[in-house]
Amino acid sequence: MKIEVLGTGCSRCKQLHENVMQAVIAADVEADVSKVEDITEIMRYGVMSTPALVIDGVVKTVGKVPSVEELKKLIA
């Protein structure tokens, strides 16, 4: 699974990245988690409010920081 955290580097983006890492460990799934900070890349996903979460190329959440529990459901 390929998980991307989109964000230009604000505190909420870092929080989302952290939550994703925890969720990946907790759900015990194989995932390649990366941060996307390039604005052109972010816009390609049609995202206007960061942070956003993209799983296997599909935008899952926009402009919010879901809790670890909620993220576990999304990646499980």
């Binding site: 230009t8 604005i39 995202v47 206007m48 960061t50 926009v62």
Partner: protein, 315 residues
């Protein structure tokens, strides 16, 4: 009830003397802190739920059909409800421009969104009363509309960074939410936000309480009262580069007003602090060439100064 509790805590439990500098300052601090945190928690949560119905993706679609004038008005009003954080300013700006929202309309949104926000409103309502809070919203929206129209008329499109026009935006993936999800998202938004701003609130109320208890009555009247014509532009000049959220500034300004700073000057100062800031300028530099950035800051600063004079004249 809250006032009684604060007085009980300070004068009876802590045994501070009524009418003493320390007693007054402490009473002010306890009362304001409790009141503000109660208001902040409930209102931020409610606003977060309401805002989930107005994602920027929807706002953009709405405004891309807009013409000038009507578009500026709509953008300024939508700026109140659309969630905005300065770290999203760049994708938001590009998204607007890319989908054909006129530049002036985009700026109306960019002015109103940070200036008219729920934290500023709560603090104003709690500390100054609903009248000042309403005046603040009204002026904020007017400034956003007028600044946007002026920027639109100046035809500054060529001063947007060139790459912005080359970006191809993907199909927007706005996800629909159930009401339960909205509530849970609102909670996920409120708790970290409170964690982030509480030190500002405490610091702001603390400084405010100190001024309240120790500064002599009317000591600012001479410098920042309605008689000094330079007070308003000076307040704006000091406020523009300052970066603080409304939570920190408003308790201080309340104390300043009590000591004789004119209402219009106070309003202008608050608006300058919330609407414009150095970090925001640095972020917007990514999408705006220097000339447009300076024009934007200049127009908004002038509009805020005029608003300050207006209220000093009529209040």
């Amino acid at each position: 009830m809250l006032a009684n509790f604060a007085a009980y805590l300070v004068f009876t439990v802590l045994g501070l003397a009524k009418g003493s500098h320390l007693g007054d300052a402490a009473n002010f601090f306890v009362y304001d802190t409790i009141k503000i945190f109660l208001l902040l928690t409930t209102i931020i949560f409610c606003v977060a739920v309401i805002r989930s119905y107005f994602p920027p993706e929807k706002t953009k679609r709405f405004l891309s059909h807009g013409k000038e004038y009507v578009g500026n008005i709509l953008a300024a009003l939508l700026g109140i409800v659309t969630p905005f954080c300065s770290c999203s300013a760049v994708p938001l700006f590009i998204g607007f421009v890319e989908s054909g929202v006129p530049l002036g309309v985009t700026f109306s949104f960019l002015v109103s969104s940070p200036m008219v926000n729920e934290i500023a409103l709560i603090m104003l309502w709690g500390l100054f009363g609903w009248k000042i809070a309403l005046i603040y919203i009204g002026c904020g929206v007017m400034i956003a509309i007028i600044s946007g129209i002026v920027i639109g008329k100046l035809r500054l499109e060529r001063f947007v960074q060139d790459y912005v026009y080359k970006i191809k935006m993907g199909e927007t993936a706005a996800t629909e939410q159930t009401f339960r999800e909205r509530l849970s998202n609102a909670r996920n938004y409120t708790v970290p936000l409170l964690k982030k701003i509480w030190p500002y609130v405490i610091a702001g109320v603390g400084i405010g309480a100190f001024i309240h208890g120790y500064a002599p009555e009317g000591f600012l009247l001479k410098y920042a009262g309605p008689q000094n014509p330079f007070a308003v532009p000076l307040a704006v000049l000091v406020g523009v580069p300052l970066y603080s959220n409304a939570a920190g500034v408003i308790p201080i300004t309340q104390a300043l007003m009590e000591k004789g700073m004119a209402t219009g000057t106070v309003l202008a100062f608050m608006m300058a602090v919330t609407a414009l800031s150095l970090p925001e300028a640095i972020i917007l530099k990514n999408v705006l060439k220097l000339r447009l950035l300076l024009t934007f800051f200049g127009i908004v600063a002038v509009a805020i100064t005029l608003t300050g004079y207006l209220f000093n004249a009529i209040l």
